[in-house]
């Protein structure tokens, strides 16, 4: 009997009611887009266009020779105005191609269907995915073609799609599963063929019974694809926890999913794969949930890559209250922004606007050793100890208590009655440990 969940975890309020019932709307056509040349984990792309060039929708504008990288395409047709640095939603700055749209959305001639699953060879599917610049759309943005390439030494029998959407507020995946379940199944089947995997699983939290139903219906003719209803608990969608819930296997600490004979992708990534096979259109847009208590009209929007978030906010009726915090992603693992000049990228699952009250950072008090962080840590760490060692700069001890195994889900900081910055200090320890490892290997 499968467990359908994992040990530990928390039950944050869902905050999903405001957007869960809202059909995905197409966002307004942007007049100018700022397309970052790095929207993925891995090496940044080099621009393939010059200022003054005319580009069309789906045209490749950035590429890299590195294996772990993802191509970048134009999301509009128009003229390249500038190649410049813009604020990166993941921190720092990123090089971006600024394109002024001519409003015509003329499609590039290279955009044509790759073909049906049956007619394509595994390596052709991988090539189509690579050429489309698809990345993990749950937020980790790891290049998808790398993960679906079959490796001789690591057999992956189980292919899992993540439809848990355990982050509060976010409903983008939920809407996708309701509105386009066929594409998710199609993309899953294509990726399974590429990776030569036998069994497909789609894990969905049981707070989305309608999505479970829709996906079950879409998968009914594929006996090797199972829809798994998971307990509603954060971080149910964390890769290793999802694997355990679906197939009862533990991914070895420090290893990757493929060490457990499994690979995990987001449902949105699968839909993107289906889109490129069916239409040839590369990854140039995505569904983003816009929510939070300081946005006038929360929405689920299909937004083109490169649109500044301030335009998205405007389209949602602007700020309803003075904004205190802007988060790209979910409230548990998303990244707080210092400016609304950042743009929507392939990994933007959510855009949250909090008012000043919600944004306030609570004053930490002393640790009372209640042990709640130990009880709920999904990887069985002792956050209170790692945090204390980190704050006292005792990184060897933090390492001994396996800080490096932290998945940064933030459950410990969430649950702490003393409002201690547990995850923040554990991140510091992780960085110090990684730095030490780097020095040792040099």
């Amino acid at each position: 009997m499968k467990s359908l969940t994992f040990r530990g975890g928390i039950h944050p309020p869902g905050y999903k009611e405001t957007t869960a019932h809202l059909e995905v709307e197409k966002a307004v056509e942007p007049s100018v887009v700022f397309i970052p040349l790095k929207q993925h984990a891995g090496a940044p792309c080099q621009p393939l266009v010059k200022v003054g060039d005319r580009v069309t929708v789906g045209e490749r504008i950035g590429e890299s020779d590195a294996f772990i990288s993802a191509l970048v395409h134009s999301s509009v047709s128009g003229t390249v105005k500038e190649i410049t640095k813009i604020p990166d939603a993941t921190g720092g700055e990123v090089q971006a191609v600024v394109i002024e749209s001519d409003g015509l959305n003329e499609v590039h001639p290279s955009v044509k269907p790759a073909g049906g699953i049956e007619s394509l060879k595994p390596e052709e599917i991988v090539a189509a995915v690579r050429n489309a610049g698809i990345v993990g759309m749950g937020g980790a943005t790891f290049p998808t073609h790398v993960k679906i390439t079959e490796l001789k030494d690591k057999k992956v029998d189980n292919f899992i799609l993540n439809g848990a959407e355990c982050e509060p507020y976010l409903t983008a995946d939920h809407r996708l599963m309701l509105e386009n379940p066929e594409d998710i199944i199609y993309g899953l089947r294509a990726m399974m063929k590429a990776k030569n995997s036998k069994n497909g699983f789609i894990g969905i939290e049981d707070n989305k019974p309608d999505a479970i139903k829709a996906m079950k219906k879409a998968a009914e003719h594929y006996p090797n694809i199972k829809i798994v209803a998971l307990h509603t608990k954060y971080p149910q969608g964390a890769s290793d926890q999802l694997v355990y819930a679906c197939i009862g296997k533990e991914v070895p600490a420090g290893g990757s999913s493929s060490d457990a004979g499994v690979v995990v992708h987001n449902v949105a990534t699968a839909a993107q794969v289906a889109k490129v096979l069916k239409t040839g259109m590369p990854s140039i847009d995505r569904i983003t949930t816009v929510a939070g208590n300081a946005i006038a009209n929360p929405k689920n929007l299909l937004i083109k890559v490169g649109v500044p978030i301030k335009e998205v906010i405007e389209q949602c009726g602007g700020y309803s209250k003075t904004p205190g915090k802007i988060i790209m992603g979910g409230p548990m693992m998303g990244i707080a922004q210092y400016t609304d000049d950042v743009v929507i990228t392939k990994g933007s699952s959510g855009l949250l606007i909090f008012d000043e009250e919600e944004a306030k950072i609570p004053e930490p008090e002393q640790c009372i050793r209640c042990g709640k962080c130990v009880e709920i840590c999904p990887v069985n760490l002792q956050p209170l100890l790692i945090s204390a060692y980190s704050l006292n700069n005792m990184m060897e001890h933090a390492e001994k208590y396996r800080a490096a195994d932290c998945i940064e889900c933030g459950s410990c900081s969430f649950i702490c009655p003393s409002k201690r910055p547990l995850l923040q200090s554990i991140r510091v320890a992780k960085a110090a440990i990684a730095e030490k490892k780097r020095k040792q290997s040099n």
Binding site: P323, I326, Q337, Q366, R369, G371, S413, P417
Partner: protein
Amino acid sequence: MEERLFVSSSPHIRDENTIQKMMLDVVIALLPATLGALYYFRINGAKIILLSVLTAVASEAVFQKLRKQPITINDLSAVVTGLLLAFNIPASAPWWIPVLGAVFAIVVVKQFFGGIGHNFMNPALAARIMLMISYTGHMTSWVKPGADAVSTATPLSFVKGLTEVPGKAPKLFDMFMGNTGGCLGETSAILLILGGIYLVYRGIISIQVPAIYIATVAVFTLIFGQFDVYFMVYHLLAGGLMLGAIYMATDYASAPVTPKGRIIFALGCGILTSVFRLYGGYPEGVGFSILLMNIAAPLIEKYTSPRVFGEVR
């Protein structure tokens, strides 16, 4: 507008729980036993409870004021300590016993070691033992429940050195209800259990520690009493076992945080309590047992780190 955006490390939402709310839950859980103490020991009980709680809160405030630290009496942890200390004092004790005990608990055991979360022993229990050793007479002059303070013996003194319950010993029902000799808050098993159920329900304590502690004592006394169930139940209801197992051994700061550590801790408490009660010089052993295990807690914790998810050992 950009200057006004908060930028911080994730997560961006926090649970609404606070130290104050947790401590308030403990106070609520102690309420039935407090009312029981007032009912059984009347004005003497009220006097000791008030003095103990007020002194605990006041000494925390004064100490923090003198040390120019933020005053944290609002977190209610001093109230809990004061209340628990009062529960550990007989109703006949003079006024300065709870006052001295509360100052010792808060200043020496709690604040000297860094305040909340840093006490290496349960403050109320450490104060009880200090008072017991220093003022044995005052701390062991038990009175019968009621306003007129007729002196009596505790249930445990009836069975000291015996393997069966003598005929003149208190009735189990009276011990269950609390109508017997003993410290203010330890006599009524039912009221303490009631509060314990509330704490478990609210997620303040896990049932593990009290359950294992009490079960261990049950097993030992059952064996020692040659499988006399009456003898076993008598031991479970007598003395400070319920108070200690539910409210003292579950103290956050002085017990291990690891799941396995908590099991070992509770087992240790149970074994030591049984040994002290059955073979020791004093009739009661709960206080010494928990304090000894408190001291062992860091060591236990060190060797009981849970297996990390996916870790291959």
